[in-house]
């Protein structure tokens, strides 16, 4: 094969960038079929109970109202594994904000007025929305999110911890967090001749198609779901969410196309959140700095309708060489919205706690935290004994320390002052697993020398189109601009969602396979191509089904410099620097955006983001972007992302690991560790807002 004109890793511009910045790119809510009606949901205003009566008369009397769907008249849905999609099917209210009705009207304004005119009577019951470490309802689930066992034990933790000369025993808490992508959840649905077509904002429309077909008992060929452009997801669009079911229901009920965009204020209750975690970490070490005992015990919540357990103790199973280890999860069902995936579920909160504890251990041992981590690097995956396909955490730590200017560093806290500010630096490790899932791709060569790739990948803002074009061009030996990419439509060959940092690896593998097969066919072909061109299809079902003998993870190291204002308790990040080892980086421009975006989200987790469950009403208090504080530009100073050239032959044909999530992993710990270094105060309850920081700072002389 001739060398690819655009080698992988080139910083190609996003293919749809111009469309996006000029407004030409159309998102799910921007499709308005002729005769389109509008829907507005009615959320429950009790935290737990049953609907005893729904009065829709006033709503239906409004001119322009087409229907009000309730559990009494809504189309019946087949049961699915995900009960959050069983909307308007019965009278039960499992949490405040659960949808109890849907108004449909000629205009958005009328739909909203009708929704507000619906009268719902409830039989209410006592509710419980408060996660505590001693909650009597906590139990150990069979498995946690990702299919991992809830409990793993190696060796004899209790004995080793008791015998360890140096120990850390600390509990860290992460509050509920919300993904809040810029584009709210939105769907436009229409039925035509028995075929359901939906424009939906989703991270993977194949799954949405499959679920809609199951819910409405249709064949998969009777449903089409299009997610051409998606304005962010971060996990909360990973599987279908209620809006797509409601839109399809309403469209069927009214016989009109129906558009439904969830109001931002309703999103917190219905599209998922990162569950809060109470995490106790115990580390025991010898005076030589070797960790001998490690326990990471997590308590978290789920809803009463389904079990979702944030797998926060899982990363501790692969991070450090400790002969004795215990990692456990317990979960309690509360009367709260169902938690779900948020960028790096498990790793993001878990590595905050673990990497904070490692920092505390470094302090207790009087050792440099970079050196301590390197000292405790395992040869093989501690939990399984498997070899790592590649693990370059040490190199990331060393490269990061060098670039950041980590040394010389006085490890003593509260020494660096600039006026009222205390300054400090911190470090933490990052990790994220390599997941791969089957996908199918078609590659086609046209008679005019152009190529077309078809696969139902999704671009949620990451640059998926662009990077798949690069993968295809490299495999075809063709200029990238001769390759057309078709993604974001469930009628295309099926593929996994953009989630778990597995999109590019999974899709790219199928694209590579199809393109490689096409090259072989073209080579074998004699004479000019037929008018219809030549195509190939490839699926990676077999390749991805085979379990890898290797432990496969990306790793990274994050460094932070913070300032803490001793007058106000305000913590601001001055610098963030990450170095990652994530296989081959396929597009340096879009990859950098992913890393920096993840790190920025981690900064928010450390300092500004949190959703409180209101004991008075049982719902989330922060329901808009004025109160749920994602970092503003002024909060995000110099953020640098770098990576190592990592050559790992045990991944996929591109040699890539996922990069969508690792950027958020470790950031919060690096920031919190820097806050300790700045102030000498160990804060273990995120986010580090002035109300928590100021009372813990030494009292000022005046």
């Amino acid at each position: 094969m001739p060398p690819a004109p655009h080698p992988l890793s080139a910083p190609l511009l996003r293919r749809e960038g111009r469309e996006k910045v000029t407004g030409a790119a159309r998102y799910a809510a921007e499709h308005t079929p002729p005769g389109c009606a509008y829907a507005w949901p009615v959320p429950a205003i009790v935290a737990r109970g049953r609907i005893t009566a729904v009065d829709t008369a006033d709503a239906l009397a409004l001119p322009g109202v087409l229907a009000v769907l309730t559990h009494e008249n809504a189309p019946r849905l087949a049961a699915l594994e995900d009960p959050t999609l069983a909307v308007l099917q019965n009278d039960r209210v499992p949490h405040r904000g659960w949808y109890v009705a849907l108004a449909v009207a000629d205009s958005l304004e009328t739909a909203r007025a009708a929704a507000e005119a619906v009268r719902v009577a409830y039989d209410t019951a006592g509710y419980d929305v408060r996660l505590t470490a001693g909650h009597p309802g906590l139990y150990t689930p069979e498995e946690v999110n990702g299919g991992y066992p809830a409990v793993r034990e190696r060796g004899d933790f209790d004995a080793a911890f008791a015998a360890a000369p140096v120990t850390v025993d600390a509990t860290y808490t992460v509050p509920p967090l919300h993904n809040h992508p810029m584009e709210p959840h939105a769907s436009t649905a229409r039925w035509y001749d028995g075929h359901l077509t939906v424009h939906d904002t989703s991270q993977g429309s194949t799954r949405v198609r499959d679920d809609l077909a199951a819910l409405f008992t249709l064949g998969k060929d009777e449903v089409t779901v299009v997610s051409e452009h998606v304005g962010g997801g971060f996990g909360c669009k990973g599987t279908p969410r209620p809006q797509v079911v409601l839109a399809a229901m309403a469209a069927r009920f009214t016989g009109r196309p129906v558009k439904l965009v969830l109001p931002r204020r309703q999103m917190a209750a219905v599209v998922g959140h990162r569950a809060p975690t109470l995490q106790r970490v115990r580390l025991g070490a010898g005076t030589d700095g070797l960790i001998t005992a490690l326990a990471h015990e997590v308590a978290t919540h789920t809803s009463t309708i389904t079990e979702f357990t944030e797998q926060a103790a899982v990363p501790a199973r692969i991070m450090y060489r400790s002969p004795h280890s215990r990692t456990t999860h317990r979960v309690v069902p509360l009367d709260i919205p169902t938690p779900s995936w948020m960028r790096a579920p498990g790793e993001a909160p878990g590595m905050y706690a673990l990497e904070s504890a490692v920092d505390e251990l470094a302090v207790a041992l009087g050792r440099d935290p970079v050196e301590l981590r390197i000292r405790n690097e395992p040869e093989t995956e501690p939990d399984s004994g498997r070899s790592f396909s590649s693990r370059h955490l040490t190199a990331c730590l060393q490269a990061g320390a060098e670039r950041f200017g980590w040394l010389p560093r006085d490890p003593r806290p509260a020494l660096r002052r600039e006026g009222d500010l205390l300054l400090g630096t911190g470090v933490a490790a990052s990790t994220y697993p390599v997941y791969l899932a089957p996908a199918t791709a078609e590659a086609h060569a046209a008679a005019d020398g152009s190529y077309r790739i078809r696969i139902n990948a999704t671009d949620i803002g990451t640059g998926a189109r662009t990077v798949l074009a690069q993968v295809a061009a490299a495999a075809l030996g063709a200029p990238e601009d001769r390759v057309r990419i078709e993604i974001g439509d469930s009628d295309l060959p099926p593929a996994v969602l953009a989630g778990g940092s597995m999109g590019t690896g999974s899709w790219g593998w199928a694209v590579h396979k199809a393109a490689t097969a096409l090259v072989a066919r073209l080579r074998a072909h004699q004479g000019p191509l037929p008018a219809q061109g030549i195509g190939t299809t490839a699926d990676t079902g077999q390749e991805t089904a085979a379990p890898s003998p290797y432990s496969r993870h990306a790793f990274g190291a994050q460094f932070a410099e913070v300032q803490v204002d001793t007058v106000t308790g305000e913590v601001r990040v001055r610098r963030l620097l990450g170095v990652f080892a994530a296989g081959r980086i396929l597009n340096s421009r879009t990859a950098r955006s992913q890393f920096i975006g993840g790190m920025t989200m981690g900064l928010g987790m450390a300092l500004t983001e949190g959703s409180g469950l209101d004991p008075a009403f049982g719902d989330f208090t922060e329901c808009d972007l004025a109160s749920y504080h994602v970092p503003a530009s002024a909060d995000v100073p110099a953020v640098e992302a770098h990576w190592l050239d990592e050559d790992d032959p045990h991944l996929n044909p591109m040699g890539s690991k996922g990069i969508g999530e690792i950027g958020i992993v470790g950031t919060a710990a690096a920031v919190a560790n820097a806050v300790w270094h700045a102030t000498g105060v160990r804060l273990r309850d995120l986010p580090l807002t002035p109300d928590k920081v100021l009372p813990r700072l030494p009292v000022r002389p005046h």
Binding site: E109, T568, G569, P615, D624, S627, A632, P695, R700
Partner: protein, 331 residues
């Protein structure tokens, strides 16, 4: 659908007349808060009287050396005005610490004074709130109130006034000019906002149908230096946890004049008279500043989750006054 009328007033007199004829009329300035509240169903006016294009967009020098700021002057214009930056830096700083650039380009001086609390219960029409629906109760007292008042609250309401600009105006002894059905009058900025008492639905002393036409600043004190400092959850685009507006004139080591107002502590910009009494004539030291803050904050009655505001206000007071005293000493 909620219907409402919209009319663009051609003059102040016309605006006041139209608003006087419709009990549920509201004046529309930049709309940066009112339109949000209408979307939330919190405000439900039947008529919007757009006053944003009235000829009230000038900043004028007054013969006595003061400044008259028209009610429709945009926040970003006011913050950037050379006279304001030069003579009333506390006002410019307060404006620039508020909202975002886009909002400041739209928000007006009059509208800024009338923005409503960001208490979560006030903004959720499905929940009780004495300010939004008198008599329904105040869940904030037991519920989420980290951001709410520690001074001057009542059993009926613990909301805070959100404007940064209003805090600076209180410290500057500004005057708010009003034009209503009964003619013109003016109210000191310190008295313009109310404490909640048993009528939390009434944020200010403004009477029905009255339009803010201007805000007047008295001449800046020669030798007086001023500053605004705001503590918040994120570096930009967040309401004050606590803010301090201060004007300080130090002569030969003693405080000749001090004016101090707090934001984020109460239902109105909290002019700190007790603190000022301690400051006047006292030596300009951190000890004095701390004593002054303590004198004012002795009245604080924090709720379960907002006790940090007392220490924060104290620290900000000392920090800001010490900074002003220090820069005066250097000058």
């Amino acid at each position: 659908m909620k219907q409402f009328g919209y009319v663009r007033a051609g003059s102040v007199a016309e605006a006041v007349r139209i608003a006087g004829e419709e009990p549920d009329a509201r004046f529309l300035g930049g709309g940066t808060n009112l339109v949000d509240l209408m979307k939330l169903g919190v405000a439900t006016p039947r008529l919007l009287v757009d006053v944003s294009r009235l000829p009230l967009d000038r900043i004028e020098e007054l013969p006595d050396g003061g400044l008259r700021i028209g009610a429709t002057v945009r926040n970003s214009v006011l913050a950037a005005d050379p006279a304001v930056r030069d003579r009333y830096p506390v006002l410019s700083q307060a404006l620039l610490s508020g909202a975002s650039g886009q909002l400041r380009n739209t928000a007006t001086t009059g509208g800024n004074l009338l923005q409503r609390t960001r208490c979560a219960y006030f903004q959720d029409a499905a929940k009780p709130c004495n300010k939004r629906a008198p008599g329904t109760g105040c869940p904030a007292r037991e519920g989420a109130h980290r951001d709410l008042a520690v001074l001057g609250h009542s059993e009926h309401c613990v909301a805070t006034q959100p404007s940064d600009m209003a805090v600076a105006l209180a410290a500057l002894d500004a005057t708010v000019h009003l034009h209503g059905p009964d003619g013109e009058r003016s109210v000191p900025a310190t008295d313009f906002h109310r404490l909640p008492g048993d009528r939390p639905e009434q944020d200010t002393e403004i009477r029905r149908g009255e339009l803010i036409t201007a805000v007047e600043l008295p001449p800046a004190r020669p030798g007086g230096n001023s500053r605004y400092r705001k503590a918040r959850d994120r570096a930009s685009f967040a309401f004050a946890l606590v803010s301090v507006a201060a004007v300080l004139d130090v002569h030969e080591g003693a405080v000749r004049h001090a004016a101090l107002a707090y934001g984020g502590l109460a239902h109105r910009p909290w002019r700190a008279r007790a603190a000022e009494a301690v400051l006047h004539g006292a030596s300009a030291t951190e000890d004095t500043f701390a004593r002054a803050a303590d004198a004012e904050l002795a009245a604080a009655r924090p709720l379960r989750e907002n006790g940090f505001k007392v220490a924060l206000a104290r620290n900000l007071t000392v920090g800001v006054l010490a900074g002003l005293a220090g820069s005066a000493a250097r000058a």
